[in-house]
């Protein structure tokens, strides 16, 4: 039908052609907003990684392909994030993941009630649960904006705490908060990760399982145990049979243990923490 109409008039075709040229020319004016290619799908990564406070530029990440590391922890947000992304954007995620980097997205939500130097969660169990649930909603929203969709692991950063033992109100609030985090991440089809000190936050998750308590365990754990041993199993705080199916990241060197620790590759120096991973990562 369209073809026959066009054949009726060469002039009309010429006008149409002019219109098309104008449209193409005007389209050239519009800033390039085509979405960057999506990151590769999330999956298990086995190998060395590092963390920085602020996402380095893509050129720095390119230079660091000369390193033995292929994963990087990146803060995507949260009420206690001291570094708010730096160079982190959707195109940054696309560029670095398609260059071969795996990402460990970290969300620094409300912290244990007894850690009063931070924005803290409620000691009321119900409130803490819903705060954790809300954190999951915000984190997945930010992850989605970065092109990290369903199936992506997001690690909740719970800094080490000492609120008075597993049964204390403070520790129980943490457990409820993390349960809300996990519940909502599962509802939104994300992988529920959990970063904490092996001796506190992770140990409480171990206690939860060993005592048959009802809190959902995280899918993957990222435990900070700065023993300098670049393995994920064994570890003195985590039974070998727990999170045993490629569900572990181990931060084995922390910058607060070695202040100012830095490495340089490709002529670019970064202050880093060190990880060994056998767990789910993005990209």
């Amino acid at each position: 039908m369209l073809r026959s109409v066009l054949h009726r008039s060469v002039r009309r075709r010429a006008v149409l052609g002019l219109g098309a040229v104008a449209v193409v020319a005007l389209a050239a004016c519009v800033p390039v907003t085509a979405p960057p290619p999506p990151p590769p799908p999330p999956g298990v990564y086995t190998g060395l990684g590092f963390d920085t406070c602020s996402a380095p530029s893509t050129s720095t990440m390119s230079a660091w392909l000369a390193s033995p590391y292929r994963s990087i922890g990146v803060y995507i947000g949260g009420e206690n994030a001291a570094c708010l992304g730096g160079n982190l954007t959707r195109s940054w995620v696309s560029t670095v993941t398609n260059a071969g980097w795996k990402l460990a997205p970290l969300y620094v939500g409300l912290q244990a009630p007894c850690n009063t130097e931070f924005n803290t969660m409620s000691t009321n169990p119900t409130t803490a649960f819903f705060q954790g649930l809300g954190a999951a909603q915000t984190a997945t929203g930010e992850a989605g904006g970065l092109g990290l969709g369903a199936g992506t692991p997001i690690y909740l950063d719970m800094e080490s705490y000492s609120c008075g033992g597993y049964a204390s109100a403070g520790t129980q609030a943490v457990m409820w908060f993390v349960d809300g985090w996990i519940t909502e991440l599962h509802q939104l089809s994300y992988v529920a990760g959990y970063y904490s000190s092996a001796a506190t936050g992770i140990a409480d998750q171990v206690t939860n399982i060993e005592t048959g308590s009802f809190f959902h365990p995280p899918d993957d754990i990222w435990f900070a145990h700065w023993n300098g041993v670049s393995t994920t199993t064994p570890d003195q705080y985590v039974p070998n049979s727990f999170w045993s199916n490629d569900q572990r990241l181990h931060q084995y060197l922390g910058s607060s243990q070695v202040p100012g620790y830095a490495e340089s590759f490709g002529g670019v120096s970064l202050n880093i923490d060190l990880d060994y991973d056998t767990g789910q990562l993005a990209g």
Partner: protein
């Protein structure tokens, strides 16, 4: 051999060239003078409410531009910061960092400070900082940044069209996009959200 164009086709080609040229010129894609985008030449000045020039105080890095005479009354204990066509006030005790001339500076929201510009390529930050306090960063807007994603609610601030984060309270940060200026401001808080609100309320066109 190049075939001769049919007269009608040559007209079409000429018209197409003209239309394309006009269209491109209309959007600044031609050879005419270009206009610098907001933030491209971000200048910044700091004015304190004290009689001591900002450039001689220990809290203000020497990289900032010379002090200018305030055209707005700056409350006691505050300093006026100007960046890329906007001005705002922060406590005079805060350091103000110009990131374009200090690219290794770590933008950390766990210390009171004002940061102007985008993060450098490899900021010298401790690896895993955690924690918040009152601090502010104003930088060129990147529509793909997490901050831009958060600021979704249109508002008007001192006559400026802005978009704000409707969940600022729970995110412990006022995130404000200034679309006309091509800027985004992030004002974090922990124990003193009123200070963050005060800083936010001070944003206006530079006088």
């Amino acid at each position: 051999m190049t075939p001769l164009l049919h007269p009608r086709r040559s007209f079409v080609a000429l018209a197409a060239t003209l239309i394309g040229g006009v269209a491109l010129a209309a959007c600044g894609g031609g050879s005419g003078p270009s206009v610098a985008s907001p933030g491209a030449q971000a200048g910044q000045t700091v004015t304190t409410a004290t009689t001591t020039p900002a450039s001689t105080t220990t809290s203000v890095p020497t990289t900032v531009a010379p002090t200018t005479t305030p055209t707005t009354a700056v409350p006691a204990g505050e300093q006026l910061v100007t960046y890329s066509g906007l001005q705002f006030e922060v406590p005079s005790s805060w350091p103000v960092y110009q990131l374009s001339s200090d690219p290794n500076r770590c933008v950390r929201f766990d210390q009171n400070a004002a940061y102007l510009g985008a993060d450098g390529p490899a900021p010298k930050c401790p690896a895993m900082l955690v924690g918040r306090t009152e601090a502010v960063q104003v930088e060129p807007l990147n529509s793909q940044s997490p901050a831009a994603e958060l600021a979704t609610t249109p508002q008007t601030l001192n006559g400026l069209a802005v978009r704000v984060d409707p969940n600022a309270a729970t995110n412990a940060a006022d995130t404000v996009v200034f679309p006309d200026q091509g800027l985004v401001a992030i004002i974090t808080f922990r124990s003193n959200p009123a200070l963050a609100a005060q800083i936010l309320a001070s944003f206006q066109n530079a006088s």
